[in-house]
């Protein structure tokens, strides 16, 4: 085991900023009132929530009454899809999404399919992009909802959301985007982009875990999701997680204010890493779009080796990275995203996702590049696939 510890998995989650923790602290044991209570300490909590709502709304160009706090990004996705499907089923039962969505969307779609809805899963190109034309062509008279992720969690590809939003608006179809990965990395204006619903999650932008938001544009038909109280205007009942809500707003405020610097820094680390991996390691493939990608996202496939062994060896060297998709038990399945961009099954098992964040430096990239080529080389030396490849090369040279 290594004494160095480098965290390169910010797409999985991020550390909570000290300023955020500070903002949250009073709401645990000083201003702990129930926001629904009428007395002063309750009203303080209520006020904090409404201020937070305003901050979140402002960050995406929405109105406060369009912001609903949830328990996670996954919950927001579930609500967006199930709620809109249920509320609009008289109009039709067809939904359009992509084959590379997060499971929060994909599995919800599968659930809806089992309950009488029809779902079109749009294929993506080799960079993981869909085109507005594809969306347009998939629309049917009974289409009620389009759900397309803003940026992919594995390969970082950013979709042409504004153009898709325009099409959805023209056709009068509800447009949802899962912006869990994009938030804090990309400027989002729900008005200008014609987004009707948007999901986000605080822990992806240095906020606390266990808090998310669903934005629902005024006038969009949505069902009430959790019953049992008047919280979130009755749509999502349950006593509000006040400290987390306050923390989320603080984190988002800082993220929006620093976005340019943050992006510049991460893009530099990203591009350097991509360049050096391509220079120093043979038989690699960059997954995702080279330019239209999240600033901190690097995703490579390494021919002849399994991603699983690679991640374990990196872990032993103190580097926390991921393959982009961990299942519930923590083991790796071939990624549906990598399969969707056309990678063969064995390569889809073997990808490495590095996602940079605030605290990473060039020294971290130095260390990564010190360690990674050796690990890849060593795993390849053990790989029967690589051996076969080398033999084939030799034969070709002799001929």
């Amino acid at each position: 085991m290594s004494d160095r510890n480098i965290y390169l998995d910010h797409s999985a989650t991020t550390p909570v900023r000290p300023e955020v923790i500070e903002a949250m602290m009073p709401y645990f044991n000083q201003r702990y009132g129930n926001p629904s209570s009428i007395y002063s300490i309750g009203r303080d909590s209520k006020k904090a929530i409404e201020e937070a709502r305003q901050t979140v709304a402002g960050a995406i160009g929405a109105q406060p009454r369009e912001i609903f706090f949830t328990g996670s990004g996954t919950e927001a996705d579930n609500w967006a899809l199930k709620g809109a499907a249920l509320a609009n089923q008289q109009k039709g039962k067809h939904i359009i999404t992509t084959s590379i969505e997060h499971h929060a969307v994909l599995h919800t779609c599968q659930y809806l399919e089992r309950n009488g809805f029809e779902v079109t899963y749009l294929p993506v190109d080799i960079d993981g992009l869909i085109t507005p034309e594809q969306v347009k062509a998939a629309i049917r008279p009974d289409t009620i909802l389009i759900s397309i992720m803003f940026a992919n969690n594995e390969i970082g590809t950013i979709q042409p959301i504004a153009e898709i939003g325009k099409i959805a608006k023209e056709k009068g179809i509800i447009f949802h985007t899962d912006a869990v990965q994009a938030m804090g990395n990309v400027s989002i204006d729900v008005e200008g982009m014609n987004i009707d619903m948007l999901s986000m999650s605080a822990h992806k932008f240095y906020g606390p875990k266990g808090i998310g938001v669903l934005y629902v544009k005024k006038g969009v038909k949505q069902s009430y999701f959790i019953h049992g109280g008047a919280q979130e205007r009755g749509r999502r009942a349950g006593t509000e997680n006040v400290p987390a809500i306050v923390g989320m707003a603080k984190a988002l405020e800082i993220a929006i204010a620093n976005m340019d610097n943050y992006n510049q820094k991460l893009t530099a680390l990203r591009d350097r890493t991509i360049r050096e991996i391509e220079e120093k390691i043979p038989f690699v493939k960059l997954n995702g779009h080279r330019k239209d990608r999240l600033p901190g996202n690097v995703n490579f496939s390494f021919d002849f080796i399994e991603g699983e062994s690679l991640l374990l060896l990196l872990d032993m060297k103190g580097i926390a990275a991921s393959s982009g998709s961990a299942c519930t038990s923590g083991s790796l399945d071939p990624s549906h995203v990598l399969l969707a961009i056309g990678l063969p099954h064995e390569t889809a098992h073997g990808s490495l996702r590095i996602s940079f964040g605030e605290e990473n430096t060039d020294a971290d990239v130095d260390y990564l590049m010190e360690v990674l080529p050796g690990i890849v080389q060593r795993l390849r030396e053990m790989s029967p696939l690589y051996e076969a490849h080398c033999k084939q090369q030799e034969t070709q040279v002799t001929v």
Partner: protein
């Protein structure tokens, strides 16, 4: 790298290894194909999600690194597909032997070596010794005969044995449970697993029907002379020696004597007909000796639960052997393995033809 199933044996194995000073990395192999959500929820065999939770808790308690590794593809190919194919050929496979041979002691071992890990360990009841004189690694029976698992480990090669550790081979099941209780491991009183891990409710016939494209056709029960006795529901549902569940009454107790995929018949006979004194076996692997060159007196075991019996083994060509028992054996079953012992040493074994 220790294979952790979430059961008491492999959990205690971790503790024993730590005690001996090894650096232990716990691993649970994910083996089964993706299943329906409802099935995942059920309490499964050795590698279910709940098993993963148990193994992870034990690893946390002992303070060792723990990973879940994906061996689904190789398990599908080498264990599940093989399992179905054998039944379709009228044979009765032992999937645990295939899993040990191709998954635990091959795929997992290679994974460990590629990561710079020196040994793989499992919670099997068996012992490994290096015999200086013969220059060979020996596989020996565990402290308790009742729990001994050498039968399912006979395929191990010298190279595999040189890299394998069986930490609880010197312990009895009772002492393993005691250690687990002393260490306050949550799995101390978990029941032993018995069934085929990937088959639900032990209904392997239904499993094969649902998981192969081959049509399972009903056919005829016939007697030793080939006379039709009645209808059977497909050869995969039967195994040699079986009496119960034949679904017909024949006026007297009848037993499955043979299964013939070529004409889709199941041959029935009387009790005496299921006894036989000899067999041949293929795909031999020898452990205590480099190979069989001349006749040898051994104790032979023809299935996991059967008793050892005196036998004389002699070499045949193509890595096969002939086994002649002193006493006739009940239900010698093609597809099962025969394993040879001398005292507590495993001589070797192979698959019954």
């Amino acid at each position: 790298m220790l294979g952790m199933s979430g059961g008491v044996d492999s959990s205690v194995a971790a503790a024993v290894l730590l005690e001996k000073g090894y650096e232990v990395i716990g691993v649970t192999m994910q083996l089964w194909p993706d299943m329906q959500e409802e099935r995942k929820e059920k309490e499964g065999g050795c590698c279910s999600l709940s098993a993963v939770d148990d193994a992870r808790r034990v690893a946390q308690k002992l303070g060792i690194s723990y990973y879940v590794l994906n061996f689904k593809d190789i398990f599908q190919e080498k264990v599940i597909d093989y399992f179905s194919q054998e039944y379709l050929k009228g044979r009765t496979p032992n999937p645990c032997i295939a899993c040990n041979r191709f998954v635990k002691f091959d795929a997992m071992l290679r994974k460990a070596l590629s990561m710079g890990i020196d040994y793989i360990a499992t919670g099997h009841y068996a012992k490994i010794d290096f015999d200086e004189q013969r220059g060979r690694f020996l596989l020996k029976k565990s402290a308790t005969d009742a729990k001994d698992q050498t039968y399912v480990l006979y395929t191990l090669t010298q190279q595999q044995l040189s890299r394998a550790l069986f930490p609880i081979g010197d312990f009895t099941k009772e002492s393993v449970r005691e250690i687990a209780e002393e260490l306050d491991l949550c799995v101390a009183s978990k029941p032993d697993s018995q069934e085929i891990c990937f088959v639900e409710e032990n209904d392997y016939g239904r499993y094969i029907c649902e998981n192969t494209s081959t049509e399972i056709r009903p056919g005829f029960f016939v007697d030793l002379e080939g006379n039709k006795l009645g209808k059977h529901k497909g050869i995969i549902h039967y195994t040699v020696g079986q009496r119960k569940g034949l679904g017909n009454t024949f006026g007297k107790p009848m037993f499955v004597v043979a299964i013939k995929p070529e004409d889709n018949t199941v041959v029935l006979g009387e009790k005496k007909d299921v006894f036989s004194s000899e067999l041949t076996a293929s795909n031999m692997n020898f452990i205590s000796i480099p190979g069989l060159t001349c006749e040898m007196k051994v104790k032979a075991k023809i299935r996991y639960s059967s008793k050892e019996a005196d036998a004389l083994i002699s070499p045949l060509n193509n890595n096969r052997v002939h086994v002649l028992f002193n006493e006739p054996q009940r239900a010698i079953t093609p597809g099962q393995s025969v394993v040879f012992y001398k005292e507590d040493e495993v001589v070797g074994g192979g698959v019954i033809d």
